[in-house]
């Protein structure tokens, strides 16, 4: 499948700010499921900094905007060919030991509810792969897709207790549950082409990856009860949403920030 991406993120400030600095993780991962055709990331009036590929295989690029800064506009335009790998992250070069993904973060802190859910649904199973599938399904059922009831700071435990949330909450809850039964898990950010049935998911998407000994990292999208296929574009990963954020940035000063994001994903007819 050939997908096009048109993604504009605009931070507007009510008063002019000092210098703005951004760290972008907005580049498609290199693995058997993706082949980059063209991909351009720019920041209006920005100065491109250094770039590198980190130990988890993600490309990161620094940018800065000189003061005074009224707004920061990050634009991603790209075309990419995708293949279904049944969720398996095959051919992805990375160095970080899977065990580094057993660490808890404040967003993926495991409470009794998460621990109990993880234990119950995987009871009697010995295969990690089965456990992962079972967990993903259980989280999808336990948290109903409901926009606007959670925010960026909602933790996995809170989302589960609430029974509602968006893809970030599904991913956090799945990661936390997996780690609680010693399965290394991580947060993945990317894009998803909305399905033809018009399921109400944003094009900017997030899901989880779970490490299965013998196979490697496998993606699980609990929100859509599936594993990522050719409708997904993978960008980067981290211990939680904050670490995997496609854009991390800061502008110096006390102004109020207003965020405006538009993402358009299209499929090129062949």
């Amino acid at each position: 499948m050939i997908l096009t991406v048109d993604h504009v993120t605009k931070y507007a400030y009510d008063v002019p700010m000092g210098a703005a600095v951004q760290s972008l993780r907005l580049f498609p991962s290199r693995f058997e499921g993706q082949r980059e055709i063209e991909w351009l990331v720019t920041i209006e009036n920005g100065i491109r900094g250094g770039s590198f590929r980190d130990g988890a295989g993600d490309k990161v690029e620094g940018w800065s905007v000189r003061p005074p800064v009224d707004e920061v506009v990050v634009t991603v335009r790209g075309k990419i060919e995708t293949f279904d790998t049944s969720g398996v992250l095959r051919g992805h070069r990375e160095l970080v030991h899977p065990m580094a993904y057993l660490r808890e973060t404040s967003a993926t802190w495991v409470d009794d509810g998460l621990a109990k859910l993880a234990e119950e649904v995987t009871q009697g199973l010995s295969e990690p792969l089965q456990k992962a599938h079972r967990l993903s399904a259980a989280i999808g059922e336990a948290i109903a897709y409901t926009p606007d009831v959670t925010d960026a700071h909602t933790t996995a435990a809170e989302a589960l207790a609430q029974g509602q949330g968006v893809c970030q909450d599904h991913a956090h809850a799945l990661i936390a549950a997996a780690r609680s039964i010693d399965l290394p898990a991580r947060y993945v950010s990317g894009y998803l082409l909305a399905s033809e049935d018009g399921a109400p998911h944003e094009a900017a998407h997030a899901w989880a990856e779970i490490w299965v000994q013998g196979i490697g990292w496998i993606g699980f999208d609990a929100a859509n009860s599936c594993c990522p296929d050719e409708r997904y574009i993978r960008l980067g990963s981290g211990l939680d949403a904050r670490e995997a954020a496609p854009i991390r940035g800061v502008a110096q000063g006390g102004g109020e920030e207003r965020l405006d994001v538009t993402v358009a994903l299209g499929q090129v007819q062949q």
Binding site: A19, V21, Q22, S23, I47, R48, G49, G50, S51, F52, R53, D54, G55, A56, V60, E61, G62, S64, R66, E94, L95, V96, H97, M99, A100, L102, R103, L239, R242, R248, G249, V250
Partner: protein
């Protein structure tokens, strides 16, 4: 009653390194000594060498107590230590490069993966990165204790930003000023090359992109920090700028200093702030001390940070047990310096032993430092021991235990004259294109009679440390 090794007196006999000091103290009149002590204090205060003690009221400009009685090593003793320290520094750096790379030592089963990769000090953000010359820890401070003429133990390693080197330099400066005759009569190896060596070390790890004489700066958390004096002292001696996070910014893949003549490119940062505060975009988002975007510049090779972020995983007290293993694995050598036998409370059997022997052991927090959060069994009351027992049971992973070592003593000036007090030693090993060790270090002394805790925050003092020339 434990028998402690006295570094000066062997029975009634003076050990050779101290020959030159025996007469000196014997002949020193009490008034002269008091006068010199006052002179030393006035000098320290004038220079401004003070330190702040966390969480205490009182004088914010407290002086660290200085004992005028030097601690002495022979050239032979020192050479042996030097070889051991350099060996250890090499092994620790090899370990860091490895665990942020392929992790061969873990794959080989020589260190448990959990200890490394689930360690809080393991920075996933730098994995896959090879810093200039492959060095993560450019200044390795190794804390040593002595229990006999030939018996030294490593108490702990400091791979991040070992402090206290300014005392090593100032103690010598003040001794030379007050007792020039001692230096005429005893041939003592100089330590004042340290600042130059440090600058050379930093310059030797400048990024590949730096094509001119590298610009170096020391990054301090600021003037409220207890070690600010040391930061400004070192910057001055090295002839480099002392900067705070707000003095720096990133642009175009480089790090810049704000100067009165506009931005100036910075190539090497000797940071004296913790990893967590270096870059709010990468680590703690609430950090006001760091430089946003610094880690991206670092990882793309625009600037070198010393010590490298993530270096802390090598000096963790749980990893400490495995340092001899690192020496064997990476260097194919037998360790020249011994570790203190250590029980890991995280291990069930060890924990059981520890809980049964609390009154004889020293218990430390895995991530603690500065002598805080530790229990010295033989010096503690029943209540203190019981309180610690509960702490260990609640969180065994957080504690290790070691036998109470019979720390050596050296003569120290006290109220009544001269008396033996327990000491340790921290030499500073520099790792760059060369591995260097100035002949000397910081000797810390427990000034309270019988005390084994030498930390300055716990009432310890410092001494000048001599290495005799051949």
């Amino acid at each position: 009653m434990t028998d402690y090794f006295n570094e000066m007196f062997d029975g009634g006999k003076v050990r050779p390194p101290y020959n030159g000091l025996d007469g000196w103290t014997r002949e020193m009149p009490a008034e002269f000594r008091a006068m010199k002590q006052a002179e030393a204090e006035a000098l320290f205060r004038r220079i401004g060498i003070t330190f702040a003690v966390y969480g205490e009221g009182g004088d914010p400009d407290r002086l660290i107590p200085f004992d005028m009685f030097p601690r002495v090593f022979t050239q032979m003793e020192w050479r042996k230590l030097e070889r051991g320290i350099k060996q250890r520094a090499r092994a620790l750096n090899a370990f860091l490069l490895d665990v942020y790379g392929r992790g061969e030592i873990v794959r080989a089963g020589r260190i448990p993966a959990r200890l490394v990769y689930q360690n809080d000090a393991y920075e996933r953000a730098v994995s896959g990165f090879v810093p200039p010359r492959g060095i993560y820890s450019h200044i390795v401070g190794i804390d040593l204790v002595r229990t006999g003429p030939d018996q030294f133990y490593v108490l702990e390693d400091n791979c991040r930003t070992p402090s206290g080197v300014s005392y090593m330099l100032e103690n010598r400066e003040i001794m030379m000023r007050m007792f020039p005759n001692l230096f005429r009569e005893n041939r003592i190896e100089p330590v004042d090359g340290y600042a130059d060596a440090l600058r050379r070390t930093m310059a030797s790890v400048a990024p590949a992109k730096c094509d001119a004489e590298p610009t170096i700066a020391i990054l301090t958390p600021g003037h409220f920090n207890s070690a600010y004096y040391e930061h400004s002292f070192l910057a001055d001696l090295m002839g480099v700028e002392l900067v705070e996070g707000a003095d720096l910014f990133v642009e175009g893949g480089f790090c810049w200093m704000r100067t009165t003549e506009g931005p100036k490119k910075l190539d090497v940062i000797y940071r004296r702030i913790d990893d967590a505060f270096l870059d709010p975009l990468c680590f703690r988002p609430d950090s006001m001390l760091g430089v946003p975007g610094l880690m991206d510049v670092y990882r793309s090779g625009g600037v070198t940070i010393c010590s490298a972020p993530g270096a802390g995983v090598a000096d963790d007290k749980a990893i400490y047990t495995y340092v001899p293993e690192m020496v064997r694995f990476y260097l194919g050598e037998e360790p020249l310096l011994e570790n203190v036998p250590t029980w890991q409370c995280a291990k069930k059997d060890d924990c059981k032993y520890v809980l049964e022997h609390l009154p004889e052991l020293v218990i430390k927090e895995v991530h603690g430092s500065g002598g805080y959060g530790m229990l010295v069994g033989p010096k503690s009351t029943k209540e203190q021991i019981e309180a610690f027992r509960h702490k260990i049971i609640d969180d065994p992973d957080n504690y290790i235990a070691q036998p109470t070592l019979a720390l050596s003593t050296t003569p120290t000036f006290v109220e009544e004259g001269v008396a033996p007090r327990h000491v340790d030693l921290r030499p500073y090993c520099l790792v760059g294109d060369k591995i260097e060790l100035v002949p000397g270090g910081l000797t810390r002394v427990a000034l309270t009679e019988g005390s084994l805790v030498v930390n300055s925050s716990q009432g310890g003092g410092v001494k000048d440390t001599w290495v005799l020339a051949e």
